[in-house]
Each structure stands twice: as structure tokens, then as C-alpha cells.
Symmetry: D2
Subunit: 434 residues, 4 copies
């Protein structure tokens, strides 16, 4: 079924990358093939190889590659000379998106958010969110969390925990405190209480925050899933201390956890939410910052950006919302499939004494070291499965399959993963036995 | 020929914007129509109105809307299930883009740059550029210029001069000094020399800079065009003081000034160049940071972003480079048309004692006040001409027509502008005479 | 014995303070008398009032006021036209100080420190310490602790926990993280381990620190005394993570805890130590930064200050070191008296269910609220006892008697305190009973 | 008359400095003697050498060393057990100082300032000044000037221009812009106008400032004296742009320029003034921040410091104010002597084509290079004259003789300087002729 590349085949010249592309590239190193087409759960390389995609563009392709309904909507729009680039002008495509977002997403969830079209990348949405929080509260400090990942531009990077990414800034990253995430000090320590104590103490040195910025599941940080109890406490802490609660739902949102927003039915409502990645549904750049209407205190153009009117993305996003979110069927199916994934990963992990992580269709196994995780994902790739690692030490093998994957293919991919983990452990035992 | 909207027509409900879109929107305020289709130099609203576009998405649509060659290339690519979103994986579309960029742009200009695919917005490219400069030099200060505009994320915003934008940050914008641009203190004062003196003085308080970040023409800052002499001096100053020269060519690049890069044939080569806006050719989000190979000192993934592999944009960019830049014909035509524009604007300006600004097809008239400029552009819009203002006080009416516009339409648009300026001045005289 | 001011006496005109002194004054508010002379443990006001001093200039007068030996040394020096102000020139007084400091303090303790004469205030010494740590390590972050107090200039203020003091900065206080001090989260949580975990985690968002800055007893922060075990762990953490350990011994040093340095015999040696307050012995401005010789990487004059050669202070400091520290007798006596104090405070506290805090002759009682503490110290003042509060909420009544106080006077002062606490509690019961 | 040290004499052991004093020491390098006593204009080393002091502790000893009236006042005070250290309590010595400062300084000049007793070093006074300006205006940026020197703690250091000092910070120095001082770009360029233009331009990137911080004569920066016209413009610019004008009068104040404040009779009144150095009159640490009563918006204790009540300094300051400033005689004499100095330096300078700098008794000669200036001052020192350099390249030989010097001794010192400059130039000619 899966058809990995033939290494013996004639490999075309790739020297253009060596010659011209910055060495900053990363995924291309672990997956040294050239890809051309993709549909649904499959990616194809230029050597006839076919790969099952358990990475999904880091959760940007929740509905798979080139979903036919989204694709057709975009083809029709382009063919009819629909506006591609509209700055922040009113356009038919934007109106349709807003209408659909209101009807399909906001109203059924009783959420009253204003929608801000930021520059179409997640980091732009995060920058807009923290700017707004600082503007509205008149405070400067943002509280982010250990292992959090929020983007690479200077404001968002300051909120990101990863030292290697932070080191790239070249200037100190200020105005952010990184507090321990749920479970960071083990199950015995309630890190929300630690935070509350420091914020309540006028001599703790922790300044009054403009915002608390949190992911409900830390995608890049190791698939750590916060409990609803902890998140409710954080929401309450934000409120009591005059800070805004920002949920960065860029990776966990758009259905990945089994509901459109990752925080649904948890008993709190964020003041601000960021969305990007799977928002357009087809992988096109699109990002939003949502906030309570009372917070909409921007001056016109105070935060802008050339590509904030990416109408192609509005078109596919509208189609995706309409197709997948008009009823509960899709979300129900994702939750059901998430349970399958949980059960299967738990079994694989138990065999080796590993732990699982995550929530919904956003799960992984801590295989103990980044070296081992890298060996496993490399072996999977050779077997035709695209899968990546995550976590502070890249020690988590993460499964981010398209949400639309059918059960048989999910199972087939997990079979490969199971085998490659087993092989890696056998190798380890063999080495240890020598 | 031009067919402005019929205000008497039935106007559809726009309450969705009031209800759901953040008040941060700006262009939609001065152009309160809903647009649907667009082709070439024309935009169409949903009331049957047709507008000549002298804004071009702030220079993002240099080849006009939905150029047929670009459009067809994209339709074909999508129809064939070409990969839309590829993180930073090697893809056919990326290889084709790099090959074409090397052949058509770099080689003929004897430029040896590495290409970094940043998040697909201009501000992301600027953030990557200043990060790299800080990393490579081990210094923190970036020197930017008065009236410079470089983006809205925290690192780029610190480089931006506009106080209203800066005020949105909510935190102090540090590690950047804003020095006077060419001509800032009038023609008598050589601001490059002022800068040189302070950098050479160990007691000036101006720290040793990592980079000097400059636009050759300040698009948002009022169409101020630096002279080649001044730019060469700045390049020399950067070199002598151990700083990298970054040319932000996001608005002035991609042909707007009459050559692909705005700094061609000026006698210096920037260390780093940022590109975005018209790079994809069709208005799709795409941005690049270019730099000398010796500066390519990134660690893998040290600066990343979800949408850095926007393959749709690679496809249209490749088509645009091939179509417009394989020979000199297009650039020659832009230069010729730029001269027409210059001559015509000079005549309009002279009639009222105004000054013109700019270079190539990036020009404007300083009409003396933002209020007057706003009245003129509003009157133009009512007459079917989309045109905007620029400058510290929005006092410059700027002409950013598509580069592909034919001479007759350029002339027709300028006729409207001429009339509306004349009307505005007549009104002023009338008011003054009362 | 104690002779508080007669409120009925004719009070001289104090309007000069209202008219000319900034409202920033603080102690004068709670002790609204004008003082003239002072000797030993006594202060005298201009109305004939005599006060027992349990504040000792916040531990600046460990040897009491105008100690006769110090006073005579200074009188002799001045009378002989000894140099008062010597920039950083070599002077007889400086040489004598350095010789004595080496012989009496460093050698017996096997400490090999270089001595830096900073500007003569504690905050200057702290600024020098953190500058040096940043310079030597090439890192920017300083780790300080909750409730820490290190000074009011911008670098030291960033290390200070108190929100009211921090708010005075008017700019964000950056490059410092405030971590929980020993016992901050109760006896069950080892805050050193929490810190270690975050520093060891490359994704925690806590940057690699230049220094860990700690007080062994937090004088202003509430007389919290860290355990030797915790301090050893902190020293070890600093070493393992490449940070320098700075002990701010400004308030706890110079004998206050029963040894010259507060960290003696704890099993670790700080990389850098700051001293001030009681260093001159007579209350004259004097501060030092001490560090391991390998860290002495300053360029000449890289950190300077007009008053770094306050030779009067050198003279009295030399006299104080010679008189009090040439043998163990003084320290032994302070330790013995500290035990008396501990025992007595414990008894007072137990009567009301209060807790005691501190170490050596630096102790206090947590009376539960700042309001009550203020009422108690005010009543003490009316009874002729100068005593102040401390802590995040000013809820600690602190005893900082001169170290030279005789046991009878210490007891007499504590009698007043005991009575006033009892009165305050009786008032509370009365109020509660109403 | 002058009696330089006998180099052949037996030199005592100075190894204590090598062994124990930080290498940060600087003056001791160029003047490698050990000093013991000093009176009036004379300093004595421990080898019988006698030196005429043209440095005056960098203007800290305007009334000479150990002035008999000040000395006696201090001896009497100490002998009578006057309080040495008083935190910020009311004391007899403080009341006397405030009364005298009001009567002798403020009232005759019609200045209505509140007096803030900061920590007793200049840098503490500057920190308090900029904190207050930021607090009162709610703005963060301070505008300082090229070659300005304001102190070494982090807030004041950010306002200092010297790169070597700045480099010691180890963190970026933010929230300050360094603008060109009067004459910085030559006599043709009015730097006040350049500043005004940028502050008036909403797109210049120069944020609205909290304060403009200026020295009327830059002591460390090269004895640059601003013209009254320029200072009035700066005062006007501050007012028009909502910033507070802070005059840092730490070096130029206390009579150095011929009046108590250096800005007297210039036609403007600063909002805030800092004083230190010669304030105590005898070289004891003392610093003040003065401000208009409306600006006295501190909370009690919001800015504090252990040694803000250095009563010894209050005593000598009161004596100095009474003795030197109760009539105009002293100031008249300083002005007269300043004119002598000016005339004499001009003559010396003219002989070699050099330029003079400065104002009042704060003057120097630019001898063209730091190397030459160092050779000259070294030769002077060998001849018994203590004199130092200043300026960005240490190229200014500066004369900071005590203000009380008699004309004959001033002349004798200048004779040495004249000779040594002539010698140095002769050496240069000889070298050039070889």
C-alpha cells in the first residue's frame, strides 16, 4: 500500500538547494526527497515514492492535502478572476468567510468574538494578540509557559521556551516570564497555585501581567496536554489579577483535539484566541486573532500587514467550515478516532514502558531520548511514513495524522510505527548486550 | 471607460463587518465598497462598479490582478494536486522557483545570494534579516531611518518610524536607532556624514551597529527616494563600521523602480535583501530574505515558520519571473513608463506649486496636508480611481499603478487625479476667498 | 531609663521639611521627631527624648552610634588633614584598610577575593557585581529571588522584588528572573530543585543565567533566612549551569548573623560578594564588591564613581575591623546574644501564636498584618523604642539592635516590644468582642 | 615651591594593591604614588612629595582639601556625638542644611525646588531624576547627548555616551537616545533644530521623550560648553514636546562655572537638577535631586537608599554654603579667576595652534591626541602638578583647579603646563624631523 522511494532509482540533481537555499532548512534534512503531488493522506516524491503523512504540515493539513471540495472551490474562484489580494478591503470572499465563521463556529458555541485579520502566519496573530493585551491593560509583562511555542518574530519568540530558537534573536527577549506548565514539576505540584501565589505577592518580583498566553496542548513542546481543571484555574488567575487570557490555538485548534477550539466545554472562555495552521483548510497562509468586542480598541491600521487579505485562503476556509463544521459528524468522528489512537499508542508504549502524551488526534509517545526518536522516525520514513518528533529533547514521536484519515490507514501507519519502535528497542538491547 | 459604483443602487448588507471584523481595518474605510473580481488594472465591486487600480495592493500587484499566465499556471498546478503546503521540504515547485530565480535574477546581475524562505509576510523577512545580522555580528543595535517602514511584529516594528504604529507595541521598542534619511534636514545637510561622524566617535552614545536597514525609496514614509550617492555612502559606512547593509526591497523591489532590485546599477551590493509583496506576482503571500553565502550561519530550524513553503506562491512567482524578467523588455518598458509618469506628475504639481517625490513607477505629489490629500483620493475613488496617500502626515498622493498598465489607461487615471487636485485647490481658494 | 519625647513640650518649627524636602521621605513619617545626637544604642531628639535604637540604620550601625574607638580614629585623621576624598588614588587610609581587611577578614577565612571600591552605596556595589557577572559570562540574565531587595538604581532595582519600588522605574525592568526563595512555597517544596529543573530544561524559557543573586537572610523582604542546605544547592546549581553566585551581604554581613560574612561555615564560597551598610562601622557611606581573582576582568575605569575613595570611611572601617574582628570574642558574643534574642522572641511569638523569622541578631516576629505591625512599632516608638517593620506586607516586626548592645538593654527593649504586642492583641480582642 | 616625589627615595611596599585591589582602578595608574595628607590646593605623598592639585577630585573639591572652616565644623560635630547616619529621619544637621540651602541658594535665585536626598553619589541622583521624569510624564525615552557622562549604574549609564563605559553594562542600554550636543557637527549646524525637527515629526522613529538630560558643560566629555542660546532652545523644545528638562549639574555646579548653578542667568529654569561632587564641600559623599514642587509625585520610600542621610556631609555642606555663598564675593572672584585662566590657556593654545574649551574655572586645551595629552599630564605629574585628560579620545588636558586657589599658584601651575606642552611639541617636532 505504502510505496517508499526507491533509493536505487536515478536521483535528480538537487544541487540547487546546496547552492541557493539557506542552511536554515530543517525538515528537508530528515526527509531528503523532493515532493511533487499530494492528495488526502498521501504525499508523492519525484521518484515514484508514496508516503503516508502523519505530520500534516504540523497540523496545517487537518483535512488532508488538496481536499476535493476545497480544491474545487479554489479552482472556481481563481477561474472566475476572484480577487486574490485585497489588503483589508471588503471582498465577497471575506464577507462569505465572516458569515460562515459566525454561523458555523461562533454562534453554535455562544462565542462573541471580533475577528482580526492579521498577517497570515501564526506568529503575526500572536504578535497582534500580545500587542492588544498590552494596549488594553496598560501593562507590559506577558506570562507564557515552559515548553510553549508561539512563533519566531521578536514578540512571539520572547514567549517561546525553546533555547535554540530564543538564541536566534540576538537581543535579550524581554517582557515575558515563563512559568511552569501543568504537570511540569510532576503530578504532586499544582503549578497554577505556584503562579497564583507569586502574582498575589507584592514582593515576588513578578510584575502584574497584561496577559497569560497558553496552549491547551503544547504541540512543539512535547504534546503536553493541560487538564481542564488547571486551565480553569489559569483562566481564573488571569481574571483575578487583571490579565487577559490568550489561548494560542494555532496548532491545537481547527479540530485537532476533537472540537473546533481546543478549549471547548472546559468551563472558561479566553479573552483572546489565535488561529492559523489548518484555518484555510488547504495549507494556504491564513491567521486570525479573535477577541471579546470590548477589547477591540485598535486604532484603524494600528496593526496591519500586506497579506492580511489573502482571499484564496478565505475561499478554502469558508468551504472547509461549511463542509466539516456545519454538523457534529466530523467532530464526533475525530473524537472517536482520537480514542482509537490513544488506545493503540498506549499499547505500543506499554510494551516498552514508555509514556504517552496528548489529546484527541494530537498524541505521541515519549521514547526516552531524541536520538532514539530520530532513529525511529527515520526508519518510519524509509518505510513510507512521514512522522516527526517534538519536545524539549525531541524525545516525543508525535502522530499528527490528517483528521480525515480512515481507520484502516491510521492503523497501517501505526503498524509501521509499532514495528520501528520495536526494532529500535531491539537494537538498543543488542547494543547493551554487547 | 471607468465605471464607478452607483451609490443609488441597492447596497447589500455589510453589517457583518460591523458585527465581526475588528475596527483595526483601515482601507475599507476610505473605499467603502465590497469587491469581488479583478483582472489586470481593474477591480470590480458587487454593485457593478469598475475601478482603475492605482494602489496595486501597495505594490503587491505589480503585474496587475490575476495575470492570465500566472493564473493559468496556478490553475494547472492545483488541478494536478500539486503540493500546496510543504513546510520547508524540497518540492518540485520550490526547485523550479530556485532554478528560475538563479537563472533569471541572480546570474544576470552577478549576485551571489542564498535564499531563505521565511514566513510569507514582509515583516517575517525583516525579522529574519535583523536576527541574522545580530547573530553574525554579535551586536544588537540596528540603525534604521526616519520615515522607514518595515513591519508590525516587534522586531520589525522597532525599525519602523511611524509613531502611531510604534505606539501599538505596548512595550518600549529597543535596540534600534532611527537616523535621518537622505535629505531629511534639507538639501544642504549630508545625513550620511552626520551618521558617519557619530559612529566614528567612541563617545557619541551610538553603539556599534549590527546592521543598517534602509529602503532605497520609502514607500509608506512618503516616497522619499535616496540618491545613489547617499546610498553608496551608507553602504561604505556600514562596511567601515562592521555592520551589515540590509536593503528592505519589499515595496520598491520586483520591478517597481524600473529594475528587479531597486539598488541595481548603483555601485554597491547589499549584504542582505528582503523581498515580499510582488514576489509571487499574483498577490499570494511570499517573502524571502537573501544574503551573502558567508552570512548563512543559521542552525537548522533556528528561524522557521509554518507557511514558509507556500507552494502556490512558488508556482506563480516562477511564472512571473519567467514571463517578465527573462529579457530586458519589461524593465525597459517600466522605465519608459516611469518617465512618462514623472513628466506628467511634474506638470500637475507645477500647476499648484507642489513637489513630486519618488522614482520609477513609484511616485507621488506632496499636496501639502493630509486633509487635502484625503479629500483628493476620496474624490478620485468616487470617480472610479483607487489611489492612496502616504507620508508622515499622509500628505503625499501616491501613484502605484500596476507596472503592466498601458499608457492610455495610465493617462486616463492621471487625468482623474489632475482634475481632482484642481477641484480641491479651487475649493481651497473659494474657502480662502470667503 | 528610656526617655521618650514629651509631646507636651514646645515643638520647634519643622515646616522646612514640608516646604523643601521631597515627599519621598519615609522613616520620618513614622518617627516624627528631630534627632540630634546619638551614642551607642541611644538616639536623642531635640526635645530631650532618648530612644533605644532597635533599627540601627537598617543594620548600618552594628557597632552602635559613634563608637568611641571609631570616632577617635576619625577625629585624629581629620585633625591631621588626612585626605578625605581620593578618587581611586592610593592613599594611606586605603592601604591600611586593605591590609587590615586581608589580615583580619580574608586570611583567617581562607578567602581569596579581590576588592573593588564601588560608589559608596549598596546599590552601586550590586550594579558592579551584576555588570561583572554579565561581562565575564557573556550572558545577560540574572536570577534573583522573591522578596529580594538589592537597591534602587535601574540594574539593582530589576533584581528587587518589591512591586512598589519596581513601579518607580518607569521603564520595564528586564534581564532578571525572580525565582522562589527557600521556603517560598512552604516547607514541602524544595524551590532549589524547581530552579534546577528549569535551568536544565532547554525548552523552559529560562535563559542561561550570568549570575544567581541571593541574600542569605532577606532583610527587607521579611527576615526570611535560607537554610545552609538550600544555599549549598543554589551554589551548586550556579556552578553546574555556568553562572556566578553573588551573595548580597549588604544587610546580613558585617557580623549581623554572628559571623563577618553571613555565609561562613555553610560549605560554599560565593564567586562575588557585596558589602556596604555596617562596613564603615560608623554609618559612613562605603560599599565593596569582592570577587575571585580570576573574575577581575575589568578594564581600568570601566566602572567608576566619584566617591569610590571615601577615606573617612576607610579609617573607621579599619578601626572597626581591628577592634571587633581581630579575635573571635565579638562574634562569639553576637552569637550568644542572638540565641538570647531567638529564645525571647520565640516566647513572645508563642503567646500569640505568631511565628518568628531570621537568624543571629537579625530576627523578627510575623504579627499577621502590616496594620498591626505598624500599630505595634508606633506604640514602641512612643515608649522610646525605635523599631521598624519588614516583609511584603510590612507584617514582620524586626529587631535590628546594635550588635554591641548589652544584655540588659536588649532585654529592656524586648520588654517594651512584648508589652506593645500584648496591648495590640488585647485591642484586637476588644474590637472583635464588640 | 612644588615638591614632586623623589623617585630615588625608598618606596614602600605597594603589593597590597596588586594583591587585593581590583584592576578596575584607573587614576592610581597615571599617578603611582601613595597620598596621605592634603590641605587647600596641596596633596602630599608618603615620600615627602607635594603636588599642586589641578584635578580637585574631578571638581569634588572646589573649596580645596580640608578647608579649615568645614573641617572644624565637622570635628565639632563628631566630637559632640552628632548623628552620623540618619536614614531619612529628621536631624538637626539636615534641618540646618535645608534652611541654609533655602536661604543662601534657592531664595536669592528665586528658585522653588523640592530637595530629594538620594543615595550620596551622582549616579544615584541621576537615576532618581530620570525615574521621576518617567513617572510624571508616563513616557520612557530619555534624550541625552553625545559625549554626555551621567554615571555608571544601569539607568545613568544608558545616558552616558562613552562606549567603553557602556560596554561594561553587559546588557543593551535602552530607553535613551543620544542626540548631538551643541556644536557637535560644527558651528554651521544647529543641533537643537535637528532635534526639534525629529521630535515634531510623527514618523521620525524618535519616541516622545520623558526628559531631556543635559550638562551645560560636559566635564568628562571634553569640556564642551553649550551656548546659552542653544540651552534655551533645548529648554523650549523640552517644554513644547512635553518633556522635562533635567540639568545634570554634578560637575559644573557648586560654583565651578562662576555661579552656584551652571545655568544661572541663562534665561531658563530646569525642571529637575542633579547635584553631587562639591556639594558637601569637603569631598564627602552627598548628592541631591532638585525639582519643581509640582513634580514631587513620589510615594513615600518609592526611591530610597541606606546612606541618603549622610549627616557629616550635611554639616560640611551647610558650612560651605554659609561661608562661600552668603555673599557674591566668592562667585565674583571665581569669575575673575576664570577669566585669567581663559586668557592664559588661550595664549598657551595659540602658541601651538590648539583650541581651548570650557567655561569659568572648568577649561582645557585640545592638544590633538590622547597620546600627547597623556604624555603632557605625565610630565606635569613628575613636576608636581596633578592634572588629567578628558574627551572622547582623552585629547583634552583639563584644568580643574580648586576655585579657592590664589592667583599666584594658579599661575605657577599653568607655568608647568605651558612648559610641558612646549616640551611635548618640541619632542614631536624632533621626531617629525628625524
Amino acid at each position: 500500500m505504502i510505496n517508499a522511494p526507491k533509493p536505487s532509482g536515478s536521483i535528480p540533481d538537487r544541487s540547487i538547494y546546496e547552492r541557493r537555499e539557506s542552511v536554515v532548512r530543517s525538515y528537508a534534512r530528515a526527509m531528503p526527497r523532493q515532493f511533487g503531488k499530494a492528495e488526502g493522506v498521501w504525499m508523492h516524491d519525484d521518484q515514484g515514492g508514496r508516503y503516508l503523512d502523519f505530520l500534516s504540515g504540523c497540523s496545517t493539513l487537518n483535512y488532508g492535502h488538496n481536499h476535493p471540495i476545497l480544491k474545487q472551490a479554489l479552482l472556481d474562484y481563481i477561474a472566475a478572476d476572484g480577487i486574490a489580494h485585497g489588503l483589508d478591503l471588503h471582498t465577497d470572499a471575506k464577507a462569505a468567510f465572516l458569515d460562515t465563521f459566525e454561523d458555523v463556529i461562533l454562534k453554535p458555541r455562544a462565542l462573541d468574538y471580533r475577528v482580526m485579520f492579521t498577517g497570515p502566519t501564526g506568529t503575526n496573530a500572536v504578535e497582534a494578540a500580545i500587542k492588544l493585551a498590552r494596549k488594553v491593560t496598560g501593562r507590559e509583562l506577558v506570562i507564557a509557559f515552559t515548553n510553549g511555542f508561539h512563533g519566531m518574530t521578536l514578540g512571539a519568540l520572547a514567549c517561546t521556551g525553546n533555547a535554540a530558537k530564543r538564541g536566534g534573536a540576538g537581543v535579550p527577549l524581554a517582557h515575558v516570564a515563563h512559568e511552569p506548565y501543568d504537570g511540569y514539576f510532576g503530578p504532586e505540584v499544582d503549578t497554577a497555585e505556584l503562579l497564583d501565589q507569586r502574582l498575589a505577592d507584592p514582593s515576588s518580583g513578578l510584575d502584574a501581567p497584561a496577559a497569560i498566553l497558553v496552549e491547551t496542548v503544547q504541540g512543539e513542546g512535547g504534546l503536553n496536554a493541560a487538564s481542564p481543571e488547571w486551565l480553569r484555574k489559569i483562566a481564573d488567575i488571569a481574571k483575578r489579577h487583571g490579565a487577559l487570557l490568550i489561548v494560542d490555538d494555532i496548532q491545537a485548534g481547527c479540530g485537532r483535539t476533537g472540537s473546533f477550539f481546543s478549549f471547548e466545554e472546559m468551563g472558561f472562555t479566553p479573552d483572546i484566541v489565535t488561529l492559523a495552521k489548518s484555518l484555510s483548510g488547504m495549507g494556504l497562509p491564513f491567521a486570525l486573532t479573535l477577541f471579546r468586542p470590548e477589547l477591540d480598541q485598535w486604532s484603524p491600521g494600528e496593526h496591519n500587514g500586506t497579506f492580511r487579505g489573502n482571499n484564496h485562503a478565505f475561499v478554502t476556509a469558508t468551504a472547509a467550515l461549511g463542509h466539516f463544521w456545519s454538523s457534529d459528524a466530523f467532530a464526533d468522528d475525530v473524537r472517536r478516532r482520537g480514542a482509537l489512537l490513544e488506545e493503540r499508542l498506549a499499547r505500543i508504549a506499554a510494551e516498552h514502558g514508555f509514556e504517552t502524551r496528548g489529546r484527541g488526534m494530537m498524541r505521541g509517545i515519549n521514547v526516552g531520548s531524541g536520538e532514539r526518536a530520530g532513529a525511529i522516525t527515520a526508519a518510519c520514513f524509509d518505510a513510507g511514513l512521514i512522522i516527526e518528533t517534538s519536545g524539549a529533547h525531541d524525545e516525543i514521536v508525535k502522530v499528527l495524522a490528517p483528521l480525515v484519515i480512515d481507520d484502516a490507514l491510521l492503523s497501517a501507519g501505526l503498524d509501521i510505527l509499532e514495528t520501528k519502535i520495536r526494532d529500535a528497542m531491539a537494537d538498543d538491547y543488542a547494543v547493551a548486550a554487547e
